[in-house]
Symmetry: C2
Subunit: 216 residues, 2 copies
DNA sequence: GTCTGAGTTTACCAAATGGTAAAAAAGGCA
DNA sequence: TGCCTTTTTTACCATTTGGTAAACTCAGAC
């Protein structure tokens, strides 16, 4: 069989039974993990299958037994991480105090930047270069969520619960500031001597910044 | 002669007479321009000498007549652009109203993002991947300037001219927000329908954000 | 046990890519 | 014009890299 990897993949349009063997689950996870490491630190073109294979502890042809090719790995990685990456934004919504909701979102984004900097850099790399393998995701995944949350924010502002400002710009500035700490880590580390103290300062700073901006 | 490019380059430690012929000036400029275009949109490893050569309207060996290699082009590009990129920060200093000084800096950074998005993405690409070819520049170029301006900001805050906040965090958040519009252009364009209106909104938003943050 | 298919490895290949040698062409100047 | 230097092109090369073929190994069902 030339490409047996076709068969065991259930999550396509045809609802094939999900017969992922233990070995497949384990190795696919290993590959995803290695790919995240390599793609996030070198970008798509800078990453090589050999690097991913070494990082995963597998051979290159073995990698290609599980995935159709380099691009397929990258795309699947983006797909798999997109949901988790947007989870904090999903959680922000009516049902709580507006200011608390927004500041909680900001804090969660900061935690994501600290705990999952590779994910942040993966997306940053991709978007920086024009999002060539993520175009559809931006349109169908991010855009609707963005619009929905803009509406929520606009509503809060109309009710006088938050100071009036452009909701879209607000969201983008939250992303910019919070993800900066992960994406520009190399620069931050040069400028801020004590990483731990710097992180605490960063948290206070972004909290203060958005609190002041949104206090009516 | 194997590498005649050694001779006509004056800006090394030895202060050789700068005998750059018209042709050299013109072609080196063409190459720098092309390299900026290609490196900024594909990253270092994603860029190829062939792409740069095509973009510059020269042949690949001809490129290598003027520069020692791919890496030399990249490094020289970073060197050449660093100064201009930091110019707005140099201008921010005592001698004006503190709030105006900071907000002017913010506005200038926004203008840079709009007018020179390639420069922004070039640096972003480099830093994202750990600044492997820019380490010294961060230490010797950026760090001192950063510390100097932090001191200026701290002084203004101590005088009560600006609200107290961490000066370093302030500077980094200014960079994050302003450069975001250039670096994440592909994403911004998906989320914001009208680019022109979006740009105006962005300018108002960042002005308001930092004004509120810094108002004592 | 043994037989079948899933999983892995060895040995490759073709294209892309950074770089070089050397000849040819183009300037520039007496 | 003739002569020397600078610039450009043509024809290569070695390495890297994504990917494949086919042999081989191993796990589990019977």
């Amino acid at each position: 069989m030339t490409h047996p990897a076709r068969k065991p993949r259930p999550e396509e349009e045809t609802p094939q039974p999900k017969k992922l063997s233990r070995i497949q689950v384990r190795n696919r996870r290993k590959i995803m993990n290695a790919a995240l490491e390599v793609f996030s630190s070198h970008g798509y073109r800078g990453a090589t299958l050999d690097q991913i294979a070494t990082e995963a502890g597998l051979s290159k042809p073995n990698i290609l037994y599980y995935f159709e090719g380099k691009e397929a790995i990258h795309v699947e990685l983006l797909n798999a991480l997109m949901f988790n990456w947007l989870a904090p934004l999903h959680k922000m919504g009516p049902g709580g105090d507006p200011m608390t909701e927004v500041l909680t979102y900001v804090r969660r984004k900061m935690e994501m930047s600290r705990q999952y900097p590779r994910e942040s850099r993966l997306f940053a790399n991709e978007v920086l270069q024009g999002a060539p393998r993520m175009g559809p995701h931006l349109e169908t995944g991010l855009k609707p969520l963005f619009d929905e949350k803009c509406a929520v924010l606009a509503d809060w502002m109309a009710q006088g619960k938050l100071a009036k400002t452009d909701p879209g710009q607000l969201l983008m500035s939250i992303w910019a500031v919070t993800q900066h700490y992960a994406d520009f880590d190399a620069q931050v580390n040069v400028l801020i001597a004590d990483a731990d103290a710097g992180w605490k300062a960063a948290n206070s700073h972004v909290d203060l910044m958005f609190r002041k901006l949104l206090t009516p």
